[in-house]
């Protein structure tokens, strides 16, 4: 049971790592990176280092993501209006060109 759980965790870790590298839009890359941090913190708990798990969950999944989002806002890689428009339209096709 625990072995299967570990295999699932490691596989999704690798998938998240590759996804962060190959996804085109920076916004999506950051979200996948935050998912990577959450999986990594669970793996730290399994490796018996809860100290690192707490830090990874707070820093990797929380603060780093917020700082990245703010930076993307500042350098206009997330457009506020385009994001609102895409929220109104369909979920799949709505994300037009807001991350050029």
């Amino acid at each position: 049971m625990i072995t299967a759980f570990r295999i699932i965790l490691l596989a999704s870790l690798v998938i998240c790592a590759i996804g962060t590298a190959i996804v085109k839009k920076p916004m999506h890359a950051i979200i996948i990176y935050m998912a990577y941090s959450v999986i990594m913190s669970i793996i730290w708990v399994l490796l018996e280092s809860p100290d690192l798990a707490i830090t990874e969950a707070a820093v990797g999944a929380g603060v780093t993501g917020i700082l990245f989002f703010l930076t993307l806002h500042r350098i206009n890689l997330i457009d506020k209006d385009a994001e609102h428009d895409s929220r109104k339209e369909d979920e799949g096709e709505g994300e037009s060109d807001h991350a050029r």
């Binding site: 490796l47 809860p50 100290d51 798990a53 707490i54 830090t55 707070a58 820093v59 929380g62 603060v63 917020i66 700082l67 703010l70 930076t71 806002h73 500042r74 206009n76 506020k80």
Partner: protein, 306 residues
């Protein structure tokens, strides 16, 4: 005189002609009101010295070469990393080179020597306290550099950030959930901070949780209110006091430890909250530094100042 000759349709047709070698630039061009000749002279400055076909072929070749080289380098790197992982000792292997007399000493006599039940806290704040001091100063230096880059001091202190950012407090779900969660997050951070010598946690983890709580607080209640609660002076004072306290306390501890002078700070009974000698105050100091570092990063990026 047009401002942007590049989008002139007449110009683009001339550009095509010139690219194909059908005209040369000395041909007098009749164009009332336009001056494509001037624009073409501008273009001539950036013309590649060889022909167009050779140039595009060169670009294609070098792009291909770049892709091949990048792929080969990536493959070599991945192979090296996977080989390293395959040759690592198994998890929990007693014959691994990392299990030596150093870690034995930490585990067997750590609680007795430092007074901390959590061996990790004893390690990073007693045996290796100097490393932790360096890490705290790294964070402090990072905040200083951001402040310098944001031009905090000097004449242009009040640069207006005209760009409108998303106001998170407008969203009802974010507002409601965060108002419920902020006290719990802050309380959990304080617990991790104060209990760092007894249970997993410590300065860095607790400070990170506290910093995240403060960031959520300033997201929901607004930066203005947050900067009134934690003004720049208070942040500076707290960070300075924490670092100075850390320096003084560890200097005292190193001095008395190295010279067999009497150590005045009682260690207390292991397992109690008031135990571990200097470890709990040092945890709190490191926690303050980490917490206000993250908070200042957020405020600098969001507002341009604290």
């Amino acid at each position: 005189m047009r401002d942007k000759p590049m989008i002139d349709p007449e110009f683009s047709s001339i550009w095509t002609l010139w690219k194909n070698g059908q005209i040369d630039l000395t041909t007098p061009l009749r164009s009332p009101g336009h001056q494509p000749l001037q624009a073409l002279k501008e273009v001539e400055k950036y013309r590649p010295r060889h022909s167009w076909e050779a140039y595009s072929q060169y670009v294609r070749k070098s792009t291909l070469l770049y892709k091949i080289a990048a792929t080969i380098l990536c493959c070599i790197f991945i192979t090296l990393m996977l080989l390293t992982v395959a040759n690592l000792p198994r998890y929990g292997d007693p014959n691994a080179p990392t299990i030596n007399e150093v870690s034995e000493r930490y585990i067997e006599e750590g609680t007795e020597e430092t007074g901390a039940v959590n061996t990790v806290a004893g390690m990073i704040l007693d045996y290796r306290a100097f490393d932790t001091l360096g890490e705290s100063f790294v964070l402090f230096t990072a905040v200083c550099s951001v402040a310098v880059l944001m031009n905090l001091s000097g004449k242009r202190q009040h640069i207006k950030h005209t760009k409108e950012l998303i106001n998170y407090a407008d969203d009802m779900i974010v507002r409601g959930v965060c108002r419920l969660l902020v006290p719990v997050i802050l309380l959990f951070g304080i617990y991790i901070l104060l209990n760092g010598h007894l249970s997993p946690g410590g300065g860095f983890s607790g400070g990170a949780v506290l910093g995240a709580g403060l960031i959520i607080y300033s997201m929901v209640w607004g930066e203005e209110k947050a900067s009134r609660v934690f003004p720049a002076k208070l942040v500076r004072l707290v960070v300075f006091c924490s670092l100075a306290f850390y320096c003084l306390a560890k200097s005292y501890s190193f001095y008395t430890g190295a010279n067999h002078l009497p150590f005045l700070i009682p260690e207390g009974a292991p397992g109690h909250i008031l135990s571990g000698g200097l470890i709990m105050p040092l945890n709190v100091a490191v926690g303050f530094v980490v917490c206000f570092t993250m908070y200042s990063f957020y405020m600098f990026f969001r507002r341009g100042r604290l």
